[in-house]
Amino acid sequence: MRIFLLSVLLLSACSKGPNADLQYIKQARSIAAEWALVNEQAELGKLTPTYVESLHRWLRDDLQTAISSLSEPNSPYGDQMKALLAEPPDTAAFALRARAESLKQIEDGLESA
């Protein structure tokens, strides 16, 4: 019984924390970067409004799903992801890239740890 409980505790510890959330941080970083690229190209008149609106919707849906999947949503990276989601769809590309960059730093930090 003790061994069983220890195993359960160990497993649950493994599935929590920044390392478990790394894939969602990466996802959020990529979403921010994709969003920035879409807005940049839209600004240049290279995209149809329907496509832009559609991509905004799907990217934000994915971001919402990533935030919901975090094991530590109230962590600093969780707050950054929520702040990204709170941005309006037509946020300037440079601002979105800054958010992507800051998530990338967290991602790199966790990967090198």
Binding site: Q27, E34, L37, Q41, K46, L47, T48, T50, L55
Partner: protein
Amino acid sequence: MNPLELTLGIMTAVGGFVDISELVFAAKAGSKFGYALIWVFALATLGIIIFSEMSGRVAAVAKQPVFNLMRHRLGLKLGLLTLAASIVSNLITCAAEIGGVSLILNYLTGAPYVLMAIGMTAVFVTSIWVLPFQWIERVYGLLGLFMIVFAAALVAICPPWNQIGGGFVPQVPAGLTNKELLTFGYFTVAIISAVMFPYEVYFYSSGGIEEGWGPKDMLTNRLTSVLGMALGSLLAISILASSAQLFGPVNVDPEIPGSAALEAAIPFGKWGLILALLGMLFAVAGAAVETCMANAYSISQFFGWVWGRHKKPWEAPRFTITWIILFLLALAIVLTGVDVMMLVEFAVLFSILVLPLTYLPLLVLAGDKTYMREYANGPIAKVLGWLYFAIITGAAIAAVPLFVLTSGGNG
């Protein structure tokens, strides 16, 4: 050999090569690893050429499609297991394609995803009911040629051609961490699976019988498999290379299929975007039709039913009811709301597990002089066939551990 028919056949194969899985994995592979996975696309393409040519040859000479032979060679138990596994694999793949088509229509028109899924399923059922086999293949395959815009877009962005050329050399990038190495391994397996999907061989061999191929069509078979698949593969490689050039440097790891269309929008603007979306739409729609029909072919052939779209739908009733039910099942999967990207991951995973069981009977049969006479596998086909069988078996063994360890390639 009719040159027009041959050209149409090759163009159909080119336009029909890329499906939602190749689209997704090519874009992700480019952004994550630059040009380093181009050789895997080339390797897998050679594999599908070899096995497609074999399956076409078996269909033309033995006048038997793959699944008839599968049951005879593997026996009932193992044959049923292979059938069950391939039904699941093709069903998930079909659902991924229907989901993909619905997404693309949403990008193009803004119409609701669910409505598009239901609408497109109705379009698929109607088109297969109304059109004879050759027209089903040609309509979707030829319209898929809009995908050529991706090749044009790659040329337009002036990529480093020497690096792209270098990507054809088998390699593992230097300096990867253990996790990145595992992810590279996962992408290798996933690309092999996506390019060598079992449904392609089932559909190709059954199509050969639908079109009444005989020994006189050997050259047609060879040219269609080699040129069609090779040129089609270049479209997939164009998507990868553009992604390496445009997405990788800005930390974009495409999270949704629609992002691939940006590769044509960036150099060509709105018209590039629209052509790319149209190409994706028809290529993925064609794949939805192929996966569903491949499943219906497999089931009908396994149980010895009358099958084929060279007959009117009511002349092959069990076959017809089967493909209609399969479309409805795939639609039901899409309507559960499961993410299309997740469907793609599972499609690729299930397919690689089925691949060894799919290709082994084909390899044995294509080399059997009792059925194939002077058209049996020569020494080159034998060596390459067995080499690829070893590769896909290795990939099948590694697939599940790599999927788990890398969270489906997401690190």
